[in-house]
Structures are given as structure tokens and as C-alpha cells.
Symmetry: C2
Subunit: 336 residues, 2 copies
């Protein structure tokens, strides 16, 4: 990493975030047994396999169409556990509140967090509250950490991905990112875009029952494109997806044109990228179709072959294939 | 809670923090099975008892005599697990970094965090990094969450406290708070005060082997006085401590006189308040004396009787007894 100071792009979830983690954060913890610093750690406590993860939420504005920072804080951590195949059980809530923040808004945020956790069957069991001087913390920051239990027979992860596998996305992409940007920029459309923010654990539970799931990822910061490239690199495969098949709402598309953004790099908070066995296509499609969060799911591509340096090709409507890259730098303005 | 906005005092760790938790935060999570929101939650995963806790660190300045925010972030969470009788195993690290923050300082902080965790035998296994705009986050905020395992035979907690029990403190009080204040206010003493910041799990392990430990608490925000009042209220007991017996360094005492502060309300980060069985006094004193973190330990008082509304009496050197209260509001300036 050549940078001497941290930039906003280091928090974008794209290539620079990866560099920061691999070159600065990971080496610092190398003395701790060399365990890799993953988004969700898979651990063992006396033969019991558990998943453990954490996420901080610094979204601005705090409230947007379809959700708020509280709902996000619950769903983000629940989803990070669930995509690893774990059943989310418990979350912690760490609040950093700006002096002068409204108690009414705090209540509203906490109720929203509790309600999303409750919907997902997850208990908020421990917490911490700090207050910082006026001007800091942008109202409120929330950290959640979560614990889930891993069923003995579930094996999912990038190492399971093989050529021939199918690539599904469970819903329209970019809704969350566009919802936050719309609110922040004071834009209005005839049809407002609501964030897709939702706990994915019930959908994932149904999907795992098909025995056809190889790997899952929720494409949050950095969007669908970054998530796909990460999986291709981790599994050392070549993936091909079809631009036409990617579900994108017209309002998101128009908003992106207006703001000069690419919807494939916008954050999603209740959307699931699924890599699945080819012979389970119809079962998986049926599960998705029968779940409220999978109604707009699409099969968007395939894993083509092994490739030492993983790569994702995007086939455009004209039949041209272009290399899809991770988010480089930051699509301004910052939204998470 | 009558306040309509959050004030710094709500984060002080004293009475207002308690009000915020009991009146605003706790009720919000009431729908989640009514589990109490404790500093360290005691949970069960398939008959296995675990402890789970979280803490955010927003200290300013980031570096001070005897430690930095990284060391604090490791020790704080490790200690919250250990005081519940758990063996700390794993921690998560959530970083919220201000745009423009020095990569060198970040490395230094992470190395310090990793080193403290390593010393305590705890693995940093998962993390998250967010970057916020310049002017926010005061350089860096760190959240850590931790998981520990509870031995089946360990039972400690305020519900174990009974009349006759002894009250020990493992070291001089107020060192951490004074160290941070000194650095922040640009004060200098002939003998600088170093923070006591340290992982307490090894000392606690030795103490538990005596079978004489009833309850432990690390008196962080709000200091020894607040921690004692909390325990007295939770155990519905009357406690009496002797002011003369409380170990306080001369420099801390002088600094407090200068700044108009009371050392009993200054934060400690490697100091242990112990409630123990009276018949184990000599064994516990021996364990403390043989451990590097217990060399300055003192027996400071006793649990006198049950009392419906818990209370702590402080006997002054003149023999007068006064009621010790929790920290009300904030001893300005904020230090954690």
C-alpha cells in the first residue's frame, strides 16, 4: 500500500479496502496464530463449530426509504453469519452517539434494530454505549457483532466453487445504495427506491435444504461486481455473467444514469449472490420463487473454468465480453 | 429519563448511563425474549456455556503513558469476559477510521492491540473497517467484541455476594484516568502516571483456583466508586470500605487535587475489584501478592449486611462514614 494516510476509498469495500486489510490489518494480527482475518470467522469451541463476525455502520443519512441505521446494523451482521451457512443466534450492539443526539431518534433506531433482529429470530444479548463530543460520529455509529452456530453437515464457501456451477442473484441490484443516495442528495423520483435491507437467514435456511448451495455472499459495499470478483479470485475460477439477466429496477437505472454511477457497484443489504450446483437449478429456482425475498431472483451466469488469477467476464447485450473489476477507489459520495 | 437529547454524561459510565440503558436501551430489546442487556452476556450454545461482550473505544488522545487505544480495545473486552469467570478466546475488531488518518499510526495501534491480545492468549479472528469523512471519529474509534468459554464449575456474579464477604482491589486506583487526562491537558509531573491498562485474565484464572471468589468487576468508566455502588445495588447489600486502605499513587492524588477530581471516580483499565469469601482471605492475598498485577492489592472493606436498597459507606481517616454514590453526570473532561 503506497498511501501514507487513510482515504475514504479505503472504506469503499473495493480494491483499496482489500489492500488495507491484506497489507496493514492482516499482518498486524499475524502473531495471533496466523488465523486469516475473514468477514465471518469459523471457530471451534470444544468441538462445536461457531461463526463470529462484526460490522460497523456509519451510514448517512440515518433514515432512508426502506430502512434506517438500526435495521441495517441488525441485518448486516445476521447476513454475514448466514452466508457462511451459520444459523445466527446472538448479536451485540455497540453504540457511539454524538452529544446532542435526539433521544426520540435513538429510540426509533433501537426499535428498528430490535424488530429486524426479532424477525430473524436473533437475540440482542449485550451492548455498550459511548457518547462523543458534538461534531463527531455524525449522529450515531453502530457496531454489531454476531454469533451463529454451524450445522455439522453444512459446507459452503469459495473453496467449494467449481466450473459448471450456476450463479444466481436473489433480487434486483443496487436498491439500497440508490435509496441512501436519493435521500442524501434530496432527489425524488416518481417511484421512490426502497432499500432492500432485510435479514437473509430464512431464505438461506431454505436454500441450504436443497443441498445444492456451494457458496453465498451478500453483495454489500462494492456491490455485485466486487462480490463476484472476490469470489472468482478466491476460488481461482473464470466466471461469466450476462448483463441482460441482472435484475435492475428502472428507477435505479435512471438514478445511476443521472448520477454517473454503475448499479453493479451499488451496495445491497438484503440481496444474495448464490453459487450453486448445476443439477440443482430447478430446485433452487423453486426455493427462490417461493420466498418473499427471492421473487425477483435470476440465474445470471456460470462458473466457466478454473483460472489461476480469478476473473469475471460480463457479456453485454451486444454480445461483447468485458472484464468486470472490483470497485476501484470510491463511487462518490460515500454511502456506507 | 427526562432528557430529550443525549449528553456526554450519558456515556460517563455513571448514573445517567445506567438510566439510559435501563429506560431507553433495555426496553427497546424487550421483545427479544426479555433477556437482560448485561456487560457480558452468559449464553448457551448446545449445553456449552459461553460469555459474549462488546465495548467501543473512543479515547482521546489515542496514545498515552502506558498504553494506547489499541491496547485498551484488547484489554477492555478481554477483562469484561474474564470478570464473569470466562476464559477469553476470541475477539473481533471493528475500526472506524477518520479520512486522512496516518497509516503509520494505524499500524502502531493494531500492533499494540495484537500484542495485548497475544499476551492474554486471545485470538483476533474477525474484523471490519469503515472510513468516515474528515472531522469525524476523532482519528479512530475501535469496537471489540469477545467470546469466552465458561467452565461448568465457575459461579461468580453479584448474586453470590453475602454479608461477611471481603472486598479487595488489585492495584492503585485512577492510574488510567489520570494518565489520559495528563496527556490530554498537557500536564507534566516529575513522575509520569502510566495507565494500568492490562489484560486481567491470567490474574483472574489464579484467583478462581482458590474457590474463594464471589464476584469480580473491572472498575473502568465511573471508577471504583461507581463499580462498588453497582455491585451493592445488584446484590442488595450494605458494603463498607475504608478510605485509608484504598491504594492511590501520590501523583494521582496530586493530579486530582490540581484538576478538582476524585480518584475514586477515575477509570481503571487493569484493576480488579474482588468480592471474596472471608475464610479465604490469606489464600487470596497470597495469589494477589504472587501475581505481577496484584502486588499493590489491598483489602479495602467488607460486605456488612443485606439491605434492600444497596449502599456503600466510605469510612474517612477521621472515622466519619459517608455514603458513596455512583458518578453523577461527568467528571469533565471526557476520557473514555
Amino acid at each position: 500500500m503506497n498511501n501514507r494516510v487513510i482515504s475514504l476509498a479505503h472504506g469503499s469495500g473495493g480494491r483499496l479496502t482489500q489492500e488495507l486489510i491484506e497489507e496493514i490489518i492482516y499482518p498486524a494480527f499475524g502473531n495471533n496464530g496466523g488465523n486469516p482475518l475473514l468477514d465471518s470467522a469459523l471457530l471451534t469451541i470444544d468441538y462445536k463449530k461457531i461463526a463470529f463476525t462484526t460490522d460497523s455502520f456509519v451510514v448517512s443519512p440515518l433514515f432512508f426509504e426502506g430502512g434506517d441505521i438500526g435495521k441495517l446494523a441488525a441485518c448486516g451482521t445476521i447476513n454475514d453469519l448466514a452466508v457462511c451457512g451459520a444459523t445466527p443466534l446472538y448479536i451485540s450492539v455497540g453504540l457511539i452517539i454524538e452529544e446532542g443526539f435526539s433521544v426520540e431518534l435513538l429510540k426509533k433506531i433501537l426499535r428498528s434494530l430490535a424488530s429486524a433482529a426479532g424477525d430473524a429470530g436473533v437475540l440482542v444479548v449485550t451492548g455498550d454505549t459511548k457518547v462523543v463530543e458534538r461534531g463527531n460520529a455524525d449522529g450515531i455509529y453502530i457496531n454489531t457483532a454476531g454469533i451463529g452456530v454451524l450445522p455439522q453437515d453444512v459446507r459452503v464457501g469459495p473453496e467449494m466453487i467449481e466450473p459448471g456451477d450456476l450463479i444466481f442473484i436473489s433480487g434486483a441490484v443496487g436498491d439500497h445504495g440508490m435509496s441512501v443516495l436519493t435521500k442524501r442528495e434530496g432527489l425524488s423520483y416518481q417511484i421512490p427506491v426502497a432499500s432492500d435491507c432485510a435479514p437473509l437467514n430464512s431464505l438461506i435456511k431454505s436454500l441450504l435444504e436443497t443441498s445444492g448451495i456451494k457458496c453465498m455472499k451478500d453483495p454489500t459495499r462494492g456491490g455485485l461486481a466486487t462480490a463476484l470478483v472476490e469470489l472468482a479470485e478466491q476460488s481461482k475460477t473464470l466466471m461469466e455473467i450476462s448483463e441482460e439477466r441482472i435484475p435492475i429496477r428502472q428507477t435505479v437505472s435512471l438514478g445511476c444514469d443521472l448520477l454517473g454511477l454503475d448499479p453493479l457497484y451499488l451496495a445491497n443489504e438484503g440481496n444474495l449472490l448464490i453459487i450453486a450446483k448445476a443439477d440443482k437449478e430447478s430446485e433452487i429456482a423453486a426455493v427462490l420463487d417461493n420466498h418473499p425475498l427471492g421473487k425477483e431472483a435470476k440465474l445470471i451466469g456460470r462458473v466457466v473454468s478454473y483460472r489461476d488469477k480469478g476473473m469475471v467476464l460480463l457479456e453485454t447485450p451486444l454480445g461483447v465480453k468485458r472484464i468486470l473489476t472490483m470497485l476501484e477507489g470510491e463511487q462518490l459520495p460515500r454511502i456506507c
